[in-house]
Symmetry: C2
Subunit: 278 residues, 2 copies
């Protein structure tokens, strides 16, 4: 639950005095990262903060001064305040902050930096079944596609459609019909002995765990292809797995109610590699 203390713009709050004029609230005008905390340490934190910096630069968000140091300080303060961060989810939210009415950018940057730490057990999250949701299509040319933004209602709607269909997560298509990604996770398939994932050019999020998986596979000289995945290929795939920072590498067991092969050696090896990140 996000009911614990949080850190906002330098201070720790039990109930924070968030401004209702914050564009994060009014316009979804924000960026966020969620980071797994394991044995008290955030996993791949520099990669997450670099992605946020990249997105901030692309979308004209101001980055607060001493950004990395502020987040480290926030994490330490929250760790002490919550008492238990052995297994937790760290969320960093950067919004454009309060501003005048309307969608035009404020003349003066006044970003809000919000850090939250919640206890989180990845093994309690079920990621076994997926439903392909034909609505909510991704545009490969969408300039917002590479950015993890708080304008996330389409992911909320996709997840809800999957739940209504009896599945744990949604798989989404592009407007061209190829499979692109899951709601807040990247998609991989093992097809004819090769590990395949859609390239970033298909409008998928540049996932931190996706990049870790690609590095790991290439280091081990596995055959990897970044290319579109056609939905007809799902039936012939020997594995289908998802990657996300919070749940790691997770093999799907069912897609649209059809079972996948029970063994998933590639996903298991990658999950083990993810678990070994210091």
């Amino acid at each position: 639950m996000n009911s614990g203390p949080l850190w906002l713009n330098g201070d720790l709050h039990a109930q924070p005095p968030l401004l209702a004029s914050d564009r994060g609230l009014l316009l979804g005008d924000g960026l966020f990262e969620t980071v797994l905390v394991r044995y008290g340490a955030p996993v791949l934190l520099p990669e997450h903060l670099q992605r946020m910096r990249n997105s901030a630069l692309a979308l004209d968000f101001a980055i607060p001064g001493s950004f990395d140091e502020q987040i480290a300080e926030a994490f330490d303060a929250l760790r002490v305040a919550t008492g238990d961060s052995a297994s937790a989810a760290l969320r960093v939210t950067l919004t454009r902050g309060p501003g005048p009415r309307g969608i035009g950018l404020p003349e003066e940057a006044n970003p809000s930096l919000l850090v939250q730490l919640d206890s989180f057990d990845p093994t309690a999250v079920s990621v076994d079944s997926a439903a392909i949701i034909d609505a909510l299509r991704l545009d490969p040319l969408d300039p917002l596609a590479p950015h993890k933004t708080t304008s996330a209602l389409r992911w909320v709607a996709a997840r809800q459609a999957a739940r209504v269909a009896g599945a744990d997560v949604a798989l989404l298509r592009t407007i061209d019909g190829d499979l692109a990604e899951a709601d807040f996770a990247n998609l991989f398939a093992v097809i004819d002995g090769r590990v395949v994932t859609p390239p970033l050019e298909r409008g998928v999020l540049p996932g931190v765990t996706r990049a870790f998986v690609l590095r790991t596979l290439r280091d081990e000289e596995e055959l990897v292809e970044e290319r579109p995945i056609r939905s007809a290929e799902v039936d012939g795939a020997s594995e289908l797995f998802l990657t996300s920072s919070l749940v790691g590498v997770r093999a799907l067991r069912l897609v649209d109610g059809r079972p996948l092969p029970p063994a998933s050696p590639v996903a298991e090896a990658l999950a083990a590699a993810y678990a070994r990140i210091p």
Copy 2:
């Protein structure tokens, strides 16, 4: 400025205690309406609240009990608190409220209803020039297209792209290339003596002012067509105008730097009709 008092869940606040766990802030999981207040009265308020109710139903948002009464009470309280509401913008925001971490819907609905009133002068807003932004394309099949949501970063980005191009507002295309709408305004053209606007099936917002304009034109037995507008038609249009609740009916003077004909009798007549709404 949104720095004045506001009404949240039944109480008037100078600085409201918004929960940082509100899904409106974290996930853009909210709906909103902006309503013009003229001579102290909200214009077409029932139509705005009906659209919000329609969207809430479609997207599984709970509507707080006594919804209309609460908003009327909030408006009255804010009018007294701000002292001047002769010309103002009333904003109603409904979020899914606080909930557990993640994109899945909370098991128990706990919506946040936020009402804000800011002094606003429509004549101070420049809506003379538009830039056609080729990125940020609309998907006509997007199930979220009919809903005015707080996941609005794409509109923020579109407006910013237009400003960088030296224009006041952005005109957006669908993935099929036809012109659909402006950033937070609907688009009309006068072509060969007919008033043309893209149908809702092109993924445009069902604007309250758009509906008022269509009713007005049909009542006066003007020739109206709801059909796609090809961008090649812009050059031959005798008028191009935008409709939005806050700025009303506004003729464009320039599109991508090219001037439109100086006279805009249709837009002017509609602007006058909009100004006469009691």
